[in-house]
């Protein structure tokens, strides 16, 4: 596996990325940009993204995975992370991938909040993406934020060996004032940005094909229907080995959802 770790981007917004060189010459294989999720989910999905990148590179795609500003090995404090910044960073990474690979056909694959940011950023890409794969996207930012906050309270209750309801009432009576979730800063600005995400009302990006990979929740079917009703190409793949990204069981687990990766690789391969 030939990989090149490197820094890229503007000096005031330096990001870390790993470029996976394609292992075979496949002219029709698209370049693939992987878009991380947020916070703890990004740490828990790190290995899965590495495996996904390796599989895609093996199939002939050049792949770039990277850390947004304020995350991972990129510059910036966690408190500087923002959804607007994610969108900006995805576009910067896209340009970097095009430069490195010399390919114009590009597919983005994002997980969680990274899928949502990719959906929103894809509106700004010219030429249009060949494909956009959204793995368990945060379709409603409000619901996603609520899940993060509940997971944080649950984590704290487990540590204290106390009832979640009691810990919530005592320490998190007003969860909206909570400034952190699962080890990462949730600034008021970031919470406002996340709350504003609603993919069911957002403009549909011009990617030639969109795919949703998820646990089959109603809201994912709603988004797929909306995209399909607009006359756009959409595939909805049901995860058979879904991860609960913020559960304790996902921490320190080497579980790679192979069946889900099969679907993502096949979906991207279908663009060839």
């Amino acid at each position: 596996m030939a990989v090149t770790p490197f820094h890229f981007g503007a000096s005031e917004r330096t990001m870390f990325g790993v470029y996976h060189h394609p292992e075979q010459r496949t002219p029709r294989a698209p370049a693939v940009l992987l878009c991380n999720p947020f916070g703890e989910e990004a740490i828990r999905s790190f290995r899965i993204f590495r495996v996904l990148a390796e599989r895609l590179a093996r199939a002939g795609s050049p792949v770039l995975r990277f850390d947004y500003f304020g995350t991972g090995d990129s510059a910036g404090e966690c408190s500087e992370f923002s959804v607007a910044g994610m969108r900006e960073d995805i576009l910067t990474a896209h340009d970097e991938l095009i430069d490195l690979s010399a390919k114009q056909r590009c597919v983005w694959a994002g997980l969680g909040l990274g899928a949502s940011a990719a959906y929103l950023a894809a509106l700004e890409v010219r030429p249009a993406l060949a494909g956009l794969v959204m793995w368990d996207p945060a379709i409603s930012g409000t619901d996603y934020l609520d899940m993060l906050l509940r997971s944080h309270v649950k984590m704290r209750a487990q540590f204290l060996e106390q009832d979640v309801a009691k810990v919530q009432a005592r320490d998190f009576a007003n969860p909206s004032q909570l400034g952190e979730a699962l080890g990462f800063t949730l600034s008021p600005e970031l919470k406002t940005e996340i709350s504003a995400i609603d993919l069911l009302t957002a403009s549909i990006p011009t990617a030639r094909k969109l795919s949703i990979v998820g646990a089959g929740r109603d809201v994912q079917e709603d988004l797929a229907c909306r995209i399909g009703d607009a006359g756009r190409s959409i595939d909805l793949h049901k995860e058979e080995d879904a991860n609960s990204w913020n559960s304790d069981e996902a921490l320190n687990a080497y579980m790679v959802p192979v069946k889900t990766l099969d679907k993502i690789v096949a979906s991207i391969g279908g663009e060839q």
């Binding site: 510059a75 704290r156 540590f159």
Partner: protein, 278 residues
């Protein structure tokens, strides 16, 4: 940014980020806790590296063989032996890149185990910081823990509910009693003798325990009573924070940890330049 990518080891298969500042103190080595990649749980290794860079200390955070971005090692060595070899190669890399021949290794959980083993094998390591290293039963801590449990009304209420079949069993919280069973713990005498050997050689040691081992230790004095038959020559500092979890999930815990680390460095290695930033 003062950080750059480095690749080293056989075939450049080990990947890391070098954070170079101009201080003349020891260089810091950071690596994986468990299987979390080199940035650490909640990005702690990045935060530690950059915080200590602001105090004048350069660092390398990297992935051990087979973890994070690093490729697996050729078969033949056990994980522990390979980890020590990887840490040795990380120090070689730092010396070739920025110079300096003294190091402090910082490790959490299994990373703590690897840190102290590396220090035993490589005299260039002049200090180790062990976050939740091995902990051993202490009667005072066990008594405190028992009193806490006995007087926990909610705990009794939950037990009563379970016995009455009103509540389904829930996932057990991650404490050392559960998770550490998968982590081989050497006999107390062996760990104590190893620490004593390091102290004899002049290694400075800072141990920080959290609530992860609250059934074994709740106060620093318990550590020294547990190891009372050993002469650590005042080279070991201990802090215990039962209010924080194993990986410092809460931001208050992370801030406290960073503050403790820079305080220890500034006390034990005061020669570093103070005019450096990240």
């Amino acid at each position: 940014m003062s950080e750059r990518v480095v690749q080293f080891g056989e075939g450049n298969r080990l990947h890391g980020i070098l954070n170079q500042v101009g201080g003349n103190g020891p260089n810091i080595i950071l690596f994986n806790a468990g299987i979390v990649h080199r940035i650490g749980a909640h990005r702690l290794n990045v935060k530690i590296a950059r915080h200590l860079a602001s105090h004048g200390f350069s660092s390398l955070r990297f992935d051990l063989s087979g973890l994070g971005d690093s490729a697996a090692a050729p078969a033949g060595r056990g994980f522990e032996e390979q980890a020590v070899m990887d840490i040795t190669q990380a120090m070689d890399c730092v010396i070739s890149e920025i110079g300096g021949d003294q190091f402090v290794a910082i490790g959490m959980c299994s990373g703590a185990d690897n840190s102290y083993r590396a220090a035993l094998s490589d005299p260039r390591i002049k200090g180790i910081i062990l976050l939740d290293p091995y902990a051993y039963d202490n009667s005072a801590a066990a008594f405190e823990s028992m009193i806490s449990r006995v007087t926990d009304v909610d705990r009794w209420a939950r037990k009563a509910k379970k016995m009455a079949g009103l509540e389904k069993p829930k996932a057990v919280p991650a404490t050392a009693d559960d998770d550490d069973q998968a982590r081989p713990i050497p006999p107390l005498e062996e760990f104590g003798a190893d620490l004593e050997k390091l102290c004899d050689g002049g290694t400075k040691i800072y141990i920080i325990y959290t609530g992860f081992v609250k059934n074994q230790i709740t106060r620093a004095s318990q550590f020294f009573s547990t190891f009372k038959s050993f002469d650590f020559k005042h080279a070991i500092s201990v802090d215990v924070f039962p209010e924080f979890d194993h990986t410092y999930t809460e931001l208050a815990g992370q801030d406290k940890l960073l503050s403790c680390l820079s305080g220890w460095f500034n006390e034990k290695f005061p020669v570093a330049s103070k005019d450096q930033g990240t």
